[in-house]
């Protein structure tokens, strides 16, 4: 939010000192490439990204892989080394069938949020595509990973590859010692709860004995220093000491309510073996690692697309890629950012590349050529001249939801002709809530922002209580928003997994948070075998 992050330093390097060097400055002349070409492309992109755009990136590691390896990487959620599980085999078989039939092309690259930042590029790509991919992934995504607050707070780019290695070995060893079936069962259950396995807020640090002692001593020293026997003589209210109720005590003990179901199971599951706890922890950590990506998908792609567009245009201006190559870039670029209208058969939601890129370009426009409307809506940035500091600040400080709320302009709403629908299953018709007009801008913007807010799109499920003295039943609550209850069949399947890990009965209550009434209840017992 603050303008303190704006950094005007980057303007200095506009004209590269080597701009009037030799005639043939082309990085490559035809589609063929070798490692030397890749290096030249990378260095050229780096010059623009770090110099002109002022990006700051992790060191890059570019790995050339074959299409089969790309499919491999797809199957294990893009991570280079991952533990073994049947679901990855399923995804692989699915992807492979689609790919073989030609229904789906492969992504040109996969990039991993790690330090050094690993980008996979496919050997089938032409030199132009490699340039596009390097600019997009090795600089765009890389900058976003390194600088965005959510990534910085929640993921450990340095440690992730080592952690994955550990996870893989741990699961393999567990399979050897306890059998593939038992491990698979635990992994299945943990995977089912994966999206309930992330902390959405920073955890309150549980005080450990040492720090608690330290605090106690400090307090006593303080009391001793300020001791004055006179105070004893001053009459005051006698404080009624209310003992905490049984429920409060239990909740404090188990850190309830707890939205991170996997964390709760790992710490408090009564009958889990140590290796099961570790596996739950692994799944939880992986879920947590991916959590920022889900919250910033649109911005991340927008940032990367904007970066490659800018870098490649500059390379073309400098005469370092040919006109033909530029046409290939534009062709790929425009198919990436294609956004079909809602009534188009190809429509499948808002394309994050399209919206992200459009917003980045819109910010550039507001900074450089603002209209009166922009002056009114964005007084802070309109006409500030240089978009890069604004963009860099946005990339660092926002996630999709807050970014839209802050930066989606009326101009862009009109351009995309966004409109808002309100669909109440209790009413016969769907209502158009707002369109791209003066009355609607703010509402469209707010509704779109909510569409990117996990708090609105994902069910809010928490562990609220455990009947410790009775049958140890676990009570889980879904706070139903806008009457949107859970899909029942799926919910029962997931609860079975939850009951398996908990080992006792589980009760899921879907409650209306306003009135507190219970809308539905699902009770599941652990499987007996």
């Amino acid at each position: 939010m603050s303008a303190g992050g704006l950094n005007p330093r980057s303007q200095a390097s506009e004209n590269s000192p080597r701009s009037q060097a030799s005639d043939n400055r082309l990085l490559y002349s035809d589609g063929e490439w070798d490692f030397e070409t890749l290096r030249r492309i990378h260095d050229a992109c780096e010059e623009i990204a770090l110099g002109e755009m002022g990006l700051s990136v992790y060191p890059n590691r570019i790995e050339v892989i074959s299409s089969e390896q790309m499919l491999d990487a797809y199957a294990s959620t893009g991570l280079p080394l991952f533990y073994k599980h049947w679901s990855f085999g399923k995804h692989f078989a699915q992807q492979e069938a689609l790919y073989r039939k030609g229904l789906r092309g492969l992504a040109y690259e996969i990039v991993i949020n790690s330090d050094p930042c690993v980008s996979y590029v496919m050997e089938e790509n032409t030199a132009t595509l490699q340039a596009l991919v390097i600019a997009h992934a090795a600089f765009g995504h890389n900058h976003f990973f390194k600088n965005n607050r959510i990534f910085k707070d929640w993921t450990d780019a340095k440690g992730i590859l080592d952690y994955l290695e550990f996870a893989k070995n741990f699961v393999t060893r567990a399979e050897e010692r306890f059998g593939e079936v038992a491990v698979e069962r635990t992994l299945d259950a943990a995977h089912a709860l994966m999206s309930q396995g992330v902390h959405r807020q920073r955890q309150r640090r549980v005080p450990d004995l040492r720090s608690e002692e330290l605090r106690e001593r400090e307090r006593r020293d303080y009391d001793a220093a300020r001791f004055n026997d006179l105070w004893r003589t001053v009459p005051g209210k006698t404080q009624a000491h209310v003992p905490p109720s049984e429920l409060e005590r239990r909740r404090a003990l188990l850190q309830l309510p707890q939205e991170n179901l996997l964390y709760f199971l790992e710490k408090s599951g009564p009958r889990l073996a140590p290796w099961q706890r570790e596996i739950i922890r692994i799944v939880r950590n992986v879920a947590q690692y991916f959590h920022p990506q889900r919250q910033t998908k649109m911005m991340n792609e927008g940032c990367a697309t904007y970066t490659h567009y800018r870098i490649l245009n500059r390379l073309h201006e400098q005469g370092r890629i040919s006109d033909g190559a530029m046409l290939e870039v534009l062709h790929n670029h425009s198919s990436v950012i294609m956004q079909p209208d809602f009534d188009d058969p190809r429509y499948s939601g808002i394309n994050p590349y399209a919206l992200g890129f459009a917003m980045m370009q819109d910010i550039e426009r507001i900074c450089e050529h603002p209209t009166e409307e922009d002056q009114e809506w964005f007084p802070d940035i309109a006409g500030c001249g240089d978009a890069m500091p604004v963009l860099r600040d946005a990339w660092a400080e926002y996630r999709d939801e807050s970014f839209i709320l802050q930066f989606l302009s009326p101009h862009l709403i009109r351009k995309l002709r966004l409109f808002h629908l309100s669909d109440d299953s209790g009413k016969p018709a769907i209502k158009v809530g707002a369109v791209h007009d003066e009355r609607g801008y703010r509402r469209v913007r707010q509704a779109l922002a909510r569409q990117y807010d996990p708090a609105w799109t994902e069910p809010d499920i928490q562990v609220v209580d455990v009947d410790l003295s009775g049958d140890r039943r676990l009570i889980v609550e879904h706070r139903v928003l806008h009457g949107r209850t859970l899909e029942e069949k799926e919910a029962r399947l997931v609860l079975r997994h939850l009951a398996y890990l908990w080992s006792y009965d589980v009760l899921l209550k879907e409650i209306d948070p306003v009135s507190g009434t219970v809308l539905r209840e699902h009770a599941v017992s652990p499987p007996h075998d």
Partner: protein, 435 residues
């Protein structure tokens, strides 16, 4: 910045995952494999291929929001709507908009198609089948030994000397016989040297020298390594089960056998061949066709050339007996036979056929399968059950008497796989089924 070439990394990184997936979805895939194999043509019978399994069997559930309630959508590309307009819901009840990323991994589909390799296909297809009487009855006579480690021996060739075992024996012997240690001797010598340097004040040196002398003599008498310490690794020959099989394909090619019937028979032979190939390293195939006389032929002739003549089954059995005698001694070969016929046989031939089988062939073979092929629709006449053929009646008596033989009727291409499966179903399963 570094550029790495990962293309040469080992391939098939996802193979373990795939195996786990196949194991997980085994029942579903097996059903799909059976379904698809019923429709396959002969060349595809052993190939891999695409199968389709229902999605719900391999679902990964997660909490998701269901239908109903109040939903909000923002969509691009408005053309005509104004604020406050009402849009009728589409009659399908699907609701407007796609929600957010509803079908991320194609989860919306009901079934899920993917490709199996040839090995995977066969593995699944033949999974619960078993060759009857797999172990050769006269295994003891086999002369195909393999060597296996079997403890230690006190004699052997130097190449098999077990150093650690030998030294262990040597050490225990030296301890037991109290052979003086080199350190002890060195100590004596040092002590003598020290006392001599001092001028031997207590006159101990002669005593010490005597002791040293005894120790030296003792250590010479008790050798460091004695021949009784030496041990060699022992190897023991074990008979190895015969890993070769021969499959006899017998077929009636007389005029009454149509191309369709031959096709049915061929499918059956194919399956048997594939099946044997999975169990034995080496599988030989012998084709014998017969009319009123029998001949061993190559595969092409067997299936494709036509002959005319009467039908004498016993000639084929006689030919098979000869071939066995000449080339496949039953002690070394696992012999399987599959006979296909339309069931016709010359009237007087039954006794001879039965005798040949009973006396010469059945003792030699592991398993004898007979399939009787008929025209599609032949049995379709309700109320007119097709009478048992001559050959069927002959064989039936043998089966009842407990011969290692099985027989089935096949009318249609679809029945080949079930019949094959039934003939080779694991013993335990059949017993369960009948019990």
């Amino acid at each position: 910045m570094e550029i790495l070439d990962r293309r040469l990394n080992p391939k098939g990184k996802s193979l373990p995952n795939r195996q786990r997936f196949l194991r997980r979805a085994k029942a579903l895939i097996q059903d799909a494999v059976r379904d698809s194999s019923a429709q396959r043509d002969i060349r595809g019978a052993d190939g891999g291929g695409e199968v389709s399994i229902p999605m719900h069997g391999v679902r990964e559930p997660s909490f998701s929001l269901g239908q109903g309630g109040i939903r909000e959508h923002v969509l691009p590309g408005n053309k005509e709507y104004r604020e406050g307009d009402e849009i009728q819901r589409p009659p399908g009840g699907g609701g407007g908009g796609s929600g957010n990323e509803g079908s991320d991994d194609g989860g919306g589909e009901d079934s899920f198609r993917f490709v199996l390799t040839r090995e995977e296909f066969l593995e699944l297809f033949l999974d619960d089948l078993e060759l009857p009487d797999l172990a050769k009855r006269r295994l003891a006579q086999l002369v195909d030994p393999a060597f296996r480690r079997a403890g230690y021996t006190s004699s052997g060739s130097p190449a098999n000397l077990s150093l650690s075992r030998t030294l262990r024996n040597s050490l225990s012997r030296r301890i037991a016989l109290k052979r003086p240690k080199p350190e002890g001797i060195a100590q004596f010598e040092a002590e003598i040297a020290r006392l001599e340097a001092l001028g031997d004040p207590a006159d101990e040196v002669p005593e010490l020298r005597a002791q040293l002398e005894r120790a030296l003599r003792r250590s010479q008498r008790i050798p460091y390594i004695d021949p009784i310490d030496v041990r060699y690794r022992r190897f023991e020959p074990v008979p190895r089960p015969v890993a070769q099989a021969v499959m006899f394909c017998l077929m009636d090619v007389s005029g009454s056998m149509t191309e369709d019937m031959k096709d049915l028979a061929k499918r059956f032979y194919m399956l048997l061949y594939l099946f044997l190939q999975r169990r034995y390293k080496q599988v030989e195939v012998v084709f014998i066709r017969h009319t009123h006389e029998a001949k061993e032929v190559d595969e092409q002739t067997f299936f494709h050339s036509r002959e005319t003549g009467g039908t004498l089954v016993s000639t084929a059995l006689e030919e098979m007996r000869k071939v066995i005698e000449a080339r496949f001694p039953p002690g070394e070969w696992n012999i399987y036979a599959a006979q296909a016929s339309d069931g016709d046989n010359a009237a007087g031939d039954s006794t001879r056929t039965a005798r040949l089988l009973l006396e010469h062939l059945l003792p030699a073979v592991q398993y004898y399968a007979y399939i009787e092929v008929g025209r599609d629709g032949e049995h379709g006449m309700p109320g007119f059950p097709r009478g048992a053929t001559d050959l069927w009646r002959t064989y039936e008596q043998l089966v009842v008497a407990g011969a290692p033989m099985a027989m089935k009727r096949v009318r249609n291409r679809r029945e080949i796989f079930p019949v094959f499966r039934e003939l080779f179903r694991k013993r335990g399963l059949t017993e369960e089924a009948t019990a």
